[in-house]
């Protein structure tokens, strides 16, 4: 993280979103909205006085509600950049119109309540999409786990935050309901994954391993604790993965093959009812904490980004690679590459490998000063073009513009409009040639004459 932030060739822009993408491979114009932080990043030193003094406390999104943050905040202590943002929905200055504490205490006068979003357009030769994943909203469909009603039924990501030394509990595993250390922790795998009825058909690929890690952490951190894992299969296809899982089992984690049918609260215990399909009998566990291994789903906003970049997606919203085996980081849009979980669920080693792959593809492109374009694109015969403009709206690549030309007619100079094809944008689909009434547009390599010759050969 720090390496990326400090690299002289990398400009980090956070709290910003892509709003529009124009252009084509080698020449993209990307419009970026830098959302107003209400803090002048050039003046802020990240001293932290503002968030220490801010009187408003809100649930921390970064800690998934397990901890609190202020209305002016950085998501976590090691955040990069260490420039806070003001959460306008909760800040009193914005909700009630008075407060101003952060502005008063800021030693560098960096707080600016009047700051506006900044919209910039920049040029790029290549784009890497690495928008990642988020977790399947299990609360909406898994009634048997309580629809999110029980505070001590949490996801693996909550568990990660508790384990983190800089997290809301300082690295201690506790029950969110009463802060007590759990003695019996139940893990349930495939929550949303491999469940066509309620979730997704695919395997999320990382859950078997992080659940093994979580079970190991329970046994390591809590003396005398019990870790019970309900699973469908244990999938450990990675280097040193099976060994890691075996180690967790040897440490005492109990793996029960079967699904959990119901969880309910009884006193301060969560009663977990399931089935052990290997022994063919019902299992009931009185647990203190239940951790769900929820499926990975594409990060919100994937539809908009797919539209902007012309990316195809699979049935679940993951971006489609150009070929499932041979072109795993390329997309159907030249110059746009994908890396990480936005292409499909994957773990960190696979993500890093794919990201390096995408980087090579980008370097391949950027290492050239210019690139050859496919010559099989549309051309305009300006003598025939009537300037009707019908071709413009049918072009899916926005490759046709109207331009004005001047010519001598009967001794006079006259100006008229004709269509003009952008070589970089035209993909040679031929849509324009079909609507062109005057036959002025022709696709090189698939001219009207060639197509008619084919028809003649087939029919005569």
């Amino acid at each position: 993280m720090v390496a990326a932030a400090q690299h002289p060739q990398i400009q980090v822009i956070t709290y910003a979103e892509v709003e529009q993408v124009a252009g084509y491979v080698g020449n993209f114009q990307v419009t970026i909205r830098k959302k107003a932080r209400m803090v002048d990043a050039t003046k802020c030193t990240g001293c932290g006085t503002c968030w220490e003094k801010c009187p408003t406390k809100v649930d921390s999104e970064f800690d998934l509600g397990l901890g609190k943050r202020k209305a002016i905040y950085i998501p976590f202590p090691q955040a990069v950049p260490a420039v806070p943002v003001i959460d306008k929905e909760h800040c009193r200055q914005f909700t009630k119109g008075k407060c101003g504490v952060c502005q008063k205490v800021c030693p560098t006068k960096a707080i600016d309540y009047e700051q506006q979003d900044e919209v910039v357009t920049e040029s790029f030769g290549a784009i890497v999409v690495a928008t990642g994943y988020e977790l399947f909203p299990w609360e909406q469909v898994y009634g048997e786990y309580g629809y999110g009603r029980y505070p001590d039924v949490i996801t693996g990501m909550h568990f990660e935050r508790m384990n983190s030394a800089s997290g809301p509990t300082g690295g201690k595993i506790v029950r969110p309901s009463d802060g007590k250390e759990p003695k019996t922790v139940v893990f349930i795998k495939c929550v949303g994954s491999r469940d066509e009825a309620k979730g997704k058909s695919y395997c999320s690929r990382a859950c078997c391993m992080y659940t093994a890690k979580h079970a190991h952490q329970v046994l390591e951190k809590i003396p005398g604790a019990q870790a019970i894992v309900f699973y469908m299969d244990v999938r450990t296809p990675g280097k040193a993965y099976e060994e890691f899982y075996s180690r967790t089992v040897h440490e005492g984690a109990v793996y029960v093959r079967g699904r959990v049918s119901r969880i309910y609260q009884e006193g301060d215990k969560l009663i977990v009812c399931g089935e052990d399909t290997l022994l063919g009998r019902q299992v009931t566990v009185a647990a203190d904490l239940v951790v769900l291994a929820t499926a990975m789903v594409p990060s919100r906003g994937w539809e908009e980004l797919a539209k902007m970049l012309g990316l195809a997606t699979d049935k679940d919203g993951f971006f489609q690679e150009a070929h499932p085996k041979l072109r795993p980081v390329e997309t159907y849009t030249a110059g746009v590459f994908i890396a990480g979980a936005c292409q499909g669920p994957k773990d960190i080693p696979d993500t890093v490998a794919q990201a390096s792959g995408a980087a090579v593809k980008v370097c391949q492109l950027l290492s050239k000063d210019e690139m050859a374009t496919d010559p099989m694109i549309s051309t305009v015969d300006e003598n025939l073009c009537s300037g009707c403009g019908l071709c413009q709206p049918v072009c899916p690549y926005k490759a046709i513009d109207m331009k004005t030309i001047t010519e001598r007619v009967a001794g006079k100079t006259v100006a008229r409009r004709v269509a003009s094809v952008n070589m970089g944008l035209c993909q040679g689909c031929g849509s324009c040639t079909v609507v062109c009434r005057s036959g002025a547009l022709n696709l090189r390599g698939f001219t009207n004459e060639q197509i008619l010759a084919e028809v003649d050969a087939a029919c005569l």
Binding site: I32, A79, E122, F124, K239, A355, C363, K368, T373
Partner: protein
Amino acid sequence: MKRVGVFVCHCGTNIASVVDVKRVAEAARSFPGVVFATDYQYMCSDPGQELIRKTIKEQRLNRVVVASCTPRLHEPTFRKTLESAGLNPYLLEMANIREQCAWVHAKDKEGATIKAIELVRVAVAKACLNAPLKPSTIPITKRALVIGAGIAGMQAALDIADAGYEVVLLDREPTIGGNMVKLDKTFPTLDCSA
């Protein structure tokens, strides 16, 4: 004067077990403009491409029709073959007699063969009107945008930047790091994720 050469591929048994390739080549010889037609086991292989190159020179071909698989697979291959024989690569035409014939009409050998002959006839007619084309060039902005600054975005940005190119690493959250920085230790080595 168009001098078309037709090269019919067996694709091992993919095509030849259904389509009578010899009959296709025989029929092709009678099409207007065709001066040469033959069949071969794997046209995309080195000897297959050499056959095309040799024939282009011997028969002074100025148009080439390859009847084989989908152009999505081997059009780039055969374009290079033409180029290496001194012909403009866009003087190539392909007839897809594998996906559009052999595979879909596997149970009707006679019908598949007749269709293959028709597809070659169509391809020859088009090839006669193929004109030499030249790719043009567009300049490249030597700058990359990485959308999303999680582990994937950071790794890609670092690799591109290390190669010497300018990178903008963008994230909608106030911090970079993505989901990865929320994780405590990571499997299988249990090292930290920061």
